[in-house]
Symmetry: C2
Subunit: 715 residues, 2 copies
């Protein structure tokens, strides 16, 4: 009970600025914390780096997320959960939690980074509450702010902010989710009355999966094809009242309930349809396109394609915040599973009287620590994304190139972090055995709620495809910068490079140079340069290979070209993932620079190496086949990784403590010390029993004794 | 609407013996079904092979599972769901669904294979109902049948069968799940009253996660340490009444509710504890151990260890049936996702007026088809497991070796199929986009319910460890058969073999022989011999490598040896998985022999190749590093796999149709044709619009036209 006394007491007296893991009771395992005097992680310093630029917003939000009134019981009907979430929303509105997003002329600080950072933290209260808040302020209100003019903003934003007007963001249709350009709802201008006529032409054009649509929405920002004077100007956004003050649907508006979902049941998702619903001309959110009273269309952006993508650009906020929320959810899951794993014991192994703590099993380290490392990588990468987002949305660097970069980065990271979150939560849940399946231990609910993160706000596959296309077009423009005559040469050269990589002789030479010197191989692989070279080359070569495979497609008919591209879709997605890995690795490496304490930087470098080498190991066959990693080094990687796991073992509690997951965020009894208490009680019982005279003796011991006795009698 | 007319009509007129996919509407995608006259899967023939030996039991059970009274609404509170499940249980009892398990002297046919086959099918009705039935008959009743004598069976089994006595299977404790040998509940014999005194000495010894314990159980089969005359004879099983006829807890019995869980909420899991609860001497289930009135202990099995494992042997039934249920759940998920993927369209690619059906995207084939192939492999492997189980449990070959083989096979397959099920269901859910997240489409519920399959009835990691140990001990006894002097030579030889495998020259030679002949490489890799050689060698070498790594452990202290074993735990689990892959591949290959129609066998051989090559690709780095696959072939595998995906594309609906997932099993609207209907309606709308004069013209088209006009004016 003394090993960790300093730490426990510091966690009780410390304020929010020195976050530790206050809920963890004193661990008593063989390697619970680093031995006294040895190198130890500076938890507070790592937390500060993780907190990033918007630390104050995060701290406020973490305090809020810990408050019980924002949590929920684990057994609620869908109806009850929806009611509760709506009540919680009112409280959030009263506390004006989203005011950071408002531009100055609407009375806000235009602090988009802080707003998103604050929003992300809400995930540990209840993901339903978070996403409902995201629908209301991040999508519905944001659409008015981003797409409307000042008059429209002043007319509708205040009521949206204070929840007088709960709203739906009506983009997705049953027939078209990812392919927004093909939406079929129409808004046809009637110059005679100066009105828009909104209409849903067929069932597949019903708006679908809209938060707030089933019950609470009084208005919706509806994406529909703008048609005036016989011309279809493509998808635009309209402000459309849908229910009256009493909550009755307005004439012509229809709604259906999506019913129970796999998670996020605090949100009333539903469908909306419009039967020739009329709204005033001025309800078109007109920043990027407007009609005059006579129906003349005008837009500041001439190209319909670019106009459409500019309007859609506002969607990136959702992806940015999901990236952060998913990462935060991974942190919570790891906090729970790793805390439990340092207390829970099962089977005697190295010590016959004391069972082994789960965290001391190699397999347990192997299933949890690489995910911990990836979660760190994702956290640091997210901070970079948040900066890119804030720069664009707060207007610091709002040019088309910055927007495109932001969109590509968001499209790369959101699929990566949501995938990681689902995999991490599931691994954590399984690592906690049966206890992981009990709702109060939070893990199952977290998986259920975050499940949809993989497919909403941009389906993961579609987003990665987008990244791949961008990488390919970057690569192609690089090609274009070579003069026309040179392109052939350039391609031939590249092909030669690839071919060389594919020769076994090159690899053989590496093998020979490493041979017999596994220490050198270990050191060199743990060097930043090696990892960077490998991950950079991988990201580049994967794009290069697709580009080379597709070079014939340029001369094909569109249909044939599309078929050709489709034949390489899996490789394209793979290239996009390699890009995301590189971004995360670089972000992690950059974050190390911010850690001044040598011990802390050393431990965190181990974590970074664990991330980097895990990524390389996961794709090892590719590196081997390309001759980029020799067989000698390839064989070394597995044992190097296992070595890192053991090196990090003493630091696992510190590493999750740096996530600053607080009591109130953690509500799982298995991570609140119950397991440890039970073990102490059982141990005391057995101690007392051993001390007493009348304890039963085991049959096996008795038999062994008898055998001995017989043997000695025979002699 | 005509392409598939034959098939649709056949599915309407056919009985249950010619299963097709009756719920799929006519697909209209580019490659919905094989072109007329081309090779086509004989669906009914494949279904028959899948049905296996206990086809009749399966058919009855499938009919039952399709009945609406065994389904459940998607929005129920935990309390409502428990009530419903209990009512459904009564109906199952009335229909005497489990009578197949009973031995002749209890009036049954002793058809254990049929009983488990029938039980497995229930998973598509509601997994809660299935597992509640499993608790009642597969565990509680089965414990009495397997561990009790005839008198005990006659006293308690009839009431257990007809649900007069709902029962709990009280083995797991809070402190000990996987490690049953360390259970702490005690049953101390009191010769003065000829009673057992059951007692829970501390909190960690509470029985935990027991189905029926929170509410319904009136009795429990309780595992406790048998103590008599001051000797602890280890864990035995006792029949303990826990509630009276009114459902009130009996004196000294305590119960707690586990509350909401991640799934399976139709089951009232809970805890039980005993405060000096007295039961008659004859309530010890006495087949493997008994006490006389005076407290003298006697057992037909002398070794306490072997006795314990023999008693535990009855648990294998749960693992066998979970293997089958998990496989069936994968079939259902694939049926839903693949049906939807052949109807759902998104983005225009190869055809500008018609969007591409999801199944025609390479990435979609790539995410679903390897799982389809693995599900087939798992289905065939399960049939072998069921035979092994039936042989032992119906007494045909009930010897210790057969039991051990059965246990090893179950321990290898249960983790494999439950992992596959969770991964498959999740992939299917994501492949269906937002629709996959809606509860009525079944996928989220299936994942939630099956989640716990990974950790109950033997935690997957613990089971794989068990397999690895068995493989190692087999390997060691092989070593022992070499004479003592030869062991050193033998090990040295093996080490040399390994070393040779690790030299790059061997690989280089292979590379050169394959070089420039990718056709030869493709053909050879698709040959059964190649796959078998690779998978067999992999399974063997992985064990060999661990054995060699551990050979020093024999001379160590127990603590050091345990630490040494722990350093290779990840490799051990890996070896166990390799073993399971080999078992599945062989079972698939054996099943091909039963398919006489050449076209069917050809298509199914492609599916088998997809499974075999996917397994090899997933571990490709290992094969490359070991020099077992040359770089040339290694590079070929990815493209071979993609070639197989396209070859199988025309057969996907037939391949899921063979699973015989029926209406009633499938209740997901997305797999019942709604998507297709909506698309037809939308297509008709656009056709009409194109035909009419006043359809709006797109701005883009207009601009293009104007540009052209300007250009021609200039000329």
């Amino acid at each position: 009970m003394t090993v960790d006394a300093d730490r426990s007491s510091s966690s009780i007296t410390s304020g929010t600025t020195v976050p530790t893991s206050p809920t963890s009771p004193t661990p008593t395992g063989p390697i619970p914390v680093p031995p006294a005097g040895s190198d130890r992680l500076d938890i507070a310093a790592v937390t500060e780096v993780l907190m990033g630029t918007w630390a104050d917003a995060r701290r406020d939000a973490r305090e809020r997320a810990a408050r019980p009134e924002f949590h929920r019981p684990t057994d609620l009907t869908v109806a009850e959960h929806r009611d509760l979430t709506f009540e919680q929303m009112k409280r959030l509105a009263e506390e004006n939690v989203s005011h950071l997003m408002l531009p100055e002329h609407l009375g806000g600080p235009n602090d988009n980074g802080g707003n998103v950072a604050s929003f992300e933290e809400l995930v540990v209260a209840d993901p339903s509450l978070q996403i409902k808040a995201g629908v209301q302020w991040g999508l519905f209100t944001s659409a008015i702010v981003q797409l409307g003019d000042e008059q429209q903003q002043k007319a509708w934003v205040p009521d949206a902010m204070d929840l007088t007007t709960p709203g739906a963001f009506a983009m997705t249709e049953i027939g078209h989710g990812s392919d927004v350009q093909s939406l079929a709802t129409t808004a046809t201008y009637d110059a005679s009355t100066e009105e828009w006529v909104l209409h849903t032409p067929f069932r597949a054009a019903w708006k679908e999966f809209l938060g707030n649509a089933a019950i609470h929405a009084k208005a919706a920002t509806v994406f529909a094809r703008l048609i005036t004077r016989g011309v279809d100007h493509g998808v635009h956004c309209f402000y459309v009242p849908v229910r009256d003050a009493e909550g009755e649907l307005l004439p012509g508006v229809r709604s259906e309930d999506d019913g129970p979902k796999g998670g996020l049941n605090g949100i009333d998702n539903g469908r909306l349809a419009f039967d020739h619903v009329r709204i005033p001309r001025t309800n078109l959110l007109n920043r990027y396109g407007d009609v005059a009273a006579d129906g003349t269309y005008a837009s500041p952006i001439e190209s319909p394609g670019r106009r459409f993508f500019t309007m859609l650009g506002t969607l990136v906020q959702g992806r940015v915040s999901l990236d952060g929320s998913a990462t935060r959810a991974s942190q919570l899951a790891l906090h729970i599973a790793i805390t439990y794993a340092t207390q829970r014991r099962q089977f005697t192994a190295s010590d016959p009287t004391r069972e082994t703590v789960l965290m001391d099993y190699q397999a347990h380290l192997h299933r949890l620590l690489p995910k911990l490392a990836a979660t760190y990588a994702g956290s640091f990468a997210h901070e970079q994304l948040l900066h890119a987002f804030d720069d664009v949305f707060s207007g610091h660097t709002d040019d088309p190139e910055a927007r495109e970069d932001l969109e590509t980065l968001a499209a790369a990271l959101k699929p990566t972090s949501t995938r990681l979150a689902l995999d991490t939560i599931q691994e954590c849940r399984e690592a906690c055995g049966g206890a992981g399946f009990i709702s109060e231990n939070q893990l199952v609910g977290l998986h259920q709620d975050l499940d949809v993160y993989a497919t909403f706000e941009g389906d993961n596959t579609v987003l990665l495809q987008l990244v791949a296309k961008r990488l390919l077009s970057d690569y192609t423009s690089e090609l274009k910068s070579v003069d026309r005559a040179g392109i052939g040469r350039f391609i031939a050269q590249r092909a030669e490079v690839l071919a060389k990589r594919h020769t076994p002789w090159a690899r053989l030479a590496q093998d020979l140079s490493d041979r017999g010197n596994s220490r050198r191989a270990f050191d060199s692989m743990r060097q930043s340069d090696f990892q960077e070279e490998m991950l950079t080359a991988r990201a580049r070569v994967k794009v290069e290979e697709v580009a080379l495979s597709l070079r014939a497609a340029g001369k094909m008919s569109p249909a044939d070209a599309a078929a050709e591209v489709n034949k390489h879709q899996v490789e394209m997605l793979d290239a996009a993932r390699a890009h995301a890995d590189l971004v995360r690795w670089r972000a992690f490496t950059a974050a190390l620079e911010q850690m001044e304490d040598p011990a802390t930087r050393g431990i965190m470098t181990d974590v970074r190496d664990l991330f980097g080498l895990s990524v390389i190991e996961d794709d090892l066959a590719w590196f081997l086949l390309g001759g980029m990693i020799s067989a000698q080094r390839g064989r070394q990687i597995g044992s190097d990784l296992r070595r890192l796991l053991w090196r990090l073992r003493p630091h696992v509690l510190d590493l999750v403590a740096a996530f600053d997951v607080r009591p109130g965020h953690v509500r799982a009894p298995i991570a609140l010390g119950g397991e440890h208490e039970r073990q102490e009680e059982a141990a005391a019982y057995f101690r007392a029993q051993r001390a007493s005279a009348d304890a039963p003796v085991s049959e096996k011991a008795l038999r062994d004794r008898e055998k001995k006795a017989r043997r000695s009698t025979k002699r």
